[in-house]
Every structure is written in C-alpha cells, then in structure tokens.
C-alpha cells in the first residue's frame, strides 16, 4: 500500500492540458522530488492534490481513500499539508499566531498532547524551524527567508502525514538554503513523508532518492537522481536537442 496514489490525473485549462494523464505514487517515509521546466504543471498537480483545483479526470488516493475533489480544509484534516510557492503569511498576526491557526484546525487539536496548549505547540513548531526570537513579531515584519520557514512550520503544525513543499528554496540566499536543507533532513528523520517541487536541482538532488520529471503536463521520466540526470529526454527538455 502506498501513502499517496495518483492515477491518470488530467487537468485542462481551455485547450491547454496543464496536467495530462499523470500517475505516480508516494511511499511512506520517502522524499519525492518533482521537477520540470517552467509551465510543466508541477504547481497545478499540487493544487489538485491539495484540493484547490478540481481535476477533469483521474483519482487521488490517500491511504486507499479516494480524496479527489474534496475541499482543501478537509484534505488538510485527512493529513496532507502544503506550502505555497509565493509565501502567504497572515500579515496582521504575529508569527506565533500564524502557526496557532494551524494548531487550531480540527486535526491538530485532536492530536494535541495532553496538557499541552496550542500556544505551547505553536512555540515548539517555531523552535523547530528556528524562529523562536521572531515569535511575537508581526508576520509583515519578517524577512522572506523567515516567512518561508514560517510557512513550513504552519504546514507542520497540522500534523500532516504527507507534506507538499512547493519550491521551498526559491528566493533564498545560500545560508538560508543551508538552514532549510537541515530542517528538511531533520523532518525526514522524524518520519515525515514529503513531495518537493523545486527548480534548484543541486539542492533537491542532495535530498531525494526518487525524482519525477514533468514536461508540458506529462510525466517523462522517473527514477533515482542519477538515472534521471542521465536520461536523454530529460537532458533534451532542460538543455535542448543536440543537432
């Protein structure tokens, strides 16, 4: 049994197929990389899995349960959490309250340990991503790298079994990238299953064991980073054809 099974997923925007007949699976405890050039349909795929978009055909199964077309908050409460490519913090709220919103979702409050308040849990989550000092700062005052980590803390606070990270490294400087890589590795060691969409292949390839390559909405390759980088089709897509 796979944790997540996506079968023949198709999504069209007018005449354009953003995602075309894509099938893949995610096993428990692994990190799966999802790469592809701009407009390959990676974010669309994420949006469909997390319920923000309705697909035209195909199914998404989570733990053998069909979750296709459910509302986003229901999917989150089933155990799939996501982050956004462009950060979406709650500007008026301090960092700790940003995380607390997730802690107050039905799933998180059900899983709250005995005698532990949502505030305490939110603070722990902030500590995990290294934002304790910023806890009381309004999110509007945080730097971009901090917001990216805040986003991850917010996703983690819903106690997900599967975490979908949409370009976690975008717009980060090398130091922030390093910090984030470390926290992703720590999350992996804690047993979180993750799917990561990323353009920065160097960072991604260090993290993942298995990669899926999308191109114009279609899956063109799947395998370990080594296999994929040697795949002719992938090289063609990224570098262009050798004449």
């Amino acid at each position: 049994m796979h944790l997540l099974e996506v079968e023949n997923l198709t999504k069209r925007f007018g005449g354009l197929s953003a995602v075309n007949n894509v099938s893949f699976h995610v096993d428990e405890g692994e990190i799966l990389g999802l790469i592809g050039p701009n407009g390959a349909g990676k974010t669309t795929l994420f949006n469909i899995i997390s319920g923000f978009l309705k697909c035209d055909s195909g199914t998404v199964k989570f733990k053998d349960e069909d979750i296709t077309g459910l509302e986003p908050h229901k999917i989150v409460n089933k155990g799939i959490s996501r982050t956004f490519q462009v950060v979406r913090p709650f500007h008026h709220l301090p960092a700790i309250a940003n995380v607390m919103v997730s802690c107050l979702s039905p799933r998180a409050s059900k899983k709250l340990e005995w005698l532990k308040s949502p505030e305490r849990k939110a603070l722990d989550m902030l500590e995990d991503v290294g934002l304790t000092e910023m806890a009381l700062e309004p999110a509007a005052n945080l730097a971009h790298g901090d917001l990216k980590r805040l986003e991850i803390a917010r996703a983690l606070a819903t106690e997900p079994e599967l975490l979908l990270l949409d370009e976690p490294f975008s717009g980060m400087n090398p130091i922030e990238t390093d910090l984030l890589t470390k926290s992703i590795v720590r999350m992996h060691l804690d047993g979180h299953t993750m799917v990561i969409v990323e353009h920065k292949l160097r960072e991604l390839m260090r993290l993942v064991k298995r990669v899926i390559v999308l191109h114009y909405g279609e899956k063109i390759a799947e395998g370990s980073p080594k296999e994929v980088t040697k795949n002719e089709k992938v090289i063609e897509v990224y570098m262009g054809r050798v004449m």
Partner: protein, 394 residues
C-alpha cells in the same frame, strides 16, 4: 487573615488593571458612567447618552464583522430592523411582555444572519457589500407594501411597551416630573450595562483563539484553508455573532423609543455604525464605543453651539440673512450621527484625515507605547542596581 486576603486582591487588581493603561481607561470610563448621574444632568443629556449606548452596541457588532472576518456589510440595518420589528410585532400582536420578545427578536436575527450569510459567502469584497446593501431595502419595501395592520405600514408599529414604564415610578410615590426623570435614569443604566456586557463578550471573542482564526481568514483565506480551517463555518459564525448583537441593539432601540419604525431599516441606519467605527478604529471593539460618545457630544452639543456662535458672528458683521438662515436651521446644517448634515460630515472628514486609524486606537496605541517605555526604564534601573551591587564588594 481577611486583611491579607484584601491585600492580595488589591495587588492583583493593581497589576492586572491599574498597570495596564487600556484596562485602566476602561475602568475610568465605567466609573465615569456609573457616577455621572449623581451630578443630576438634564434628562435631555441622559436620553442622548442612552440612545448612543444602543448605537454603540450596533456599531461594535458591525466592527466585529468587518474587523475580524473582513466581511464588509453595507446593510447592517437589516439586523437592527429585524430585531426591532420582530420584538415589536410580537408585543403588538400577541401582547407578550418585552423580556420575552427581545430574546425572540435576537434569535430570529441569528437565523436571518445564517439565511443571509449563505448567499453572501459566495461573494467577496465589494460584491458582498452590494449584496448586503440590498437586503434591508427589500425588507423595507415589503414592510411598506404589506397592509398596515401587520407591520404598521409607514408609521411602523407604535405604542410598544418601554423599559421601566412610567407607572412603575408613579406607583412608588414619585411626582409626574420626577417619575419621567427616574425612568430616563433607569433606562440609561440598563442600556449602559447592556453595552458593557455585550462589548465585553464581543471583545473576548475578538481576542480569543476564534478571533485569531477569523483574522487569518481576513488576511488570506486560501492560506487559512491550507491550514485546515473550515473558513465557511467561521465566516458564518462571525455573521451570526454580529447579527446577534446588531439585533439586540434593534430590539433595545424599539423598546426605548416605543416604536419599531421604517427608519430602523433605512440606508442611513446602515451607515451609522460605519461612521462610528471608522472614527473609532476598525477591528478594536472599544473604538466604536468610544467614538459613539465622541460623536454624540460633537453632533448634539458642540457643533450646534459652535454654529450658533457662527450665526451670531455673521449677523454682527452684516450678513444678516445668512446668519438668520443658519440660526433657524441649526439642526439641518449640523446634523448628527443618525442624520448627518453638511457641517457634521466636514468635521468627520477632518477627524478621519487626522486620525486615519481611529481616535480611540491612536490613544490606546500611544498609551501602550508609553507604558512599554516606562517598563524598559524600570528594568534598566533594576539591572543597573544589580550590576552596581556585584561590583561594590570587589
């Protein structure tokens, strides 16, 4: 032992109330309103204060909706009118006492909030504002169109029982004039206490965990959904809570003036909470309450006096006809929060430009900054003393 208990209570009181400037402000406000009638002000002033206490509840309920869940309602008079008419019609047709009809009016308002909320949740921003704008107008035409025996037609439902009927006092041996004054006073205290209770409840909800979730919906609904929040449920809840207190204000108003009239559903009634809230500070709950009384003094006392002085000045410098015109139409020139006139609106615009975040909020923010500075100063002194002590033995 008793003494130590009192000492402890006092120390808790000082640390939790006196040392927190906004709370101290609320305490002073409460004491001022409780002991103000001891100076025996005129019945006119007391009546105005009572009216604006009711409007403050109404404004606070609107503020809760916009400031917490970000839903802009331009038709908040719907709740005010439904509350007033429900309570009034039940009194009029079934002869029920007002302590029974007011809860029913409030309940119906919650129901209406759900009914209106469902279609309203499908639209956002300016579209939501337009949709909500339509509802009170629809209801207004319905009440106007129905035969007068149901809802009183143009005149509204008149002759409703009021709080503390006059017989209550005349039976207790007060003279006629004194009884009216005592009635006004009793109503003043009742409305003020109700305002205090309802604003306390609203404030507690607004600053609770539910309030945090509501603010997250205001900031970014998509991200809130991604955090596993059922945003529809929370938005409906905000609508219902707002409708509850808006309806309560309507019921109180109907039983204060004794009439459930069409004016409770009119457009101007929808704009009263908006003016008040913008002046006090959106999303604060205490803002609209403070602003309601500020506006009362402006519109009912300060501005008419100022305009009268202006009219006198004009007559003196030779613009006799203009001065005379101004003097004879003072109320229509100045207006008040419930029926704004030209001069009133100009003053409001100036105030909003001067304090864009609201008068009450600016004051409280400034006080909090001051208290923070004071705290830092004290902490600095303590650290300095400790360092000095460390150094002195060596």
């Amino acid at each position: 032992m008793v003494l130590s208990y009192f000492r402890r209570t006092y120390s808790i009181f000082t640390s939790k109330v006196l040392d927190v400037p906004p709370r101290l402000l609320v305490l002073l406000f409460f004491l001022l309103f409780m002991f103000f009638p001891l100076t025996r002000p005129g019945a006119d002033l007391l009546g105005k204060l009572t009216q604006y206490s009711i409007l403050a509840i109404f404004a606070a309920s609107w503020d809760f909706l916009i400031g917490r869940s970000g839903q802009l309602s331009l038709g908040h008079a719907l709740f005010f009118g439904v509350g007033a008419y429900t309570s009034g019609a039940l009194c009029y047709h079934f002869g029920l006492p007002l302590w029974a009809t007011i809860p029913m009016g409030v309940l119906l308002c919650i129901l209406v909030a759900f009914l209106v909320g469902f279609p309203c949740l499908r639209v956002k921003g300016p579209y939501l504002a337009l949709v909500t704008l339509a509802f009170p107008i629809i209801l207004l035409t319905v009440f106007l169109g129905l035969p007068a025996k149901y809802f009183g037609g143009e005149n509204g439902i008149t002759g409703l029982p009021v709080f503390f009927p006059i017989e209550f006092f005349t039976e207790r041996g007060f003279g006629w004039k004194e009884a009216i004054y005592q009635q006004t006073l009793a109503q003043y205290y009742l409305m003020f206490l109700l305002l205090f209770i309802s604003s306390y409840i609203l404030y507690r909800i607004a600053y609770s965990k539910t309030g945090i979730v509501l603010v997250s919906i205001l900031d970014d609904e998509v991200a809130s959904k991604a955090s596993g929040i059922n945003t529809t449920k929370y938005k409906l809840m905000a609508f219902a809570i707002s409708g509850l207190f808006g309806g309560l204000a309507g019921c109180l108003y109907a039983h204060w003036i004794g009439v459930a009239g069409l004016s409770t559903l009119m457009l101007t009634q929808s704009f009263v909470p908006i003016i008040i809230t913008f002046l006090g500070g959106i999303g604060t709950i205490y803002g609209p309450i403070a602003a309601a009384y500020i506006l009362m003094f402006l519109g009912e006392f300060v501005l008419p006096d100022a305009v009268e002085g202006l009219a006198g000045l004009m007559t003196n410098i030779g613009l006799v006809s203009l001065g005379h015109n101004l003097k004879s139409n003072i109320t229509s020139w100045t207006g008040s929060a419930t029926s704004p006139g030209l001069i009133f609106m100009i003053v409001i615009i100036i105030l909003i430009i001067k304090w864009p975040t609201g008068i009450a909020r600016s004051v409280v923010d400034k006080l909090e900054d001051l208290s923070e500075e004071r705290e830092l100063e004290e902490r600095g002194k303590r650290i300095w003393k400790r360092e000095k002590k460390k150094k002195s033995p060596s």
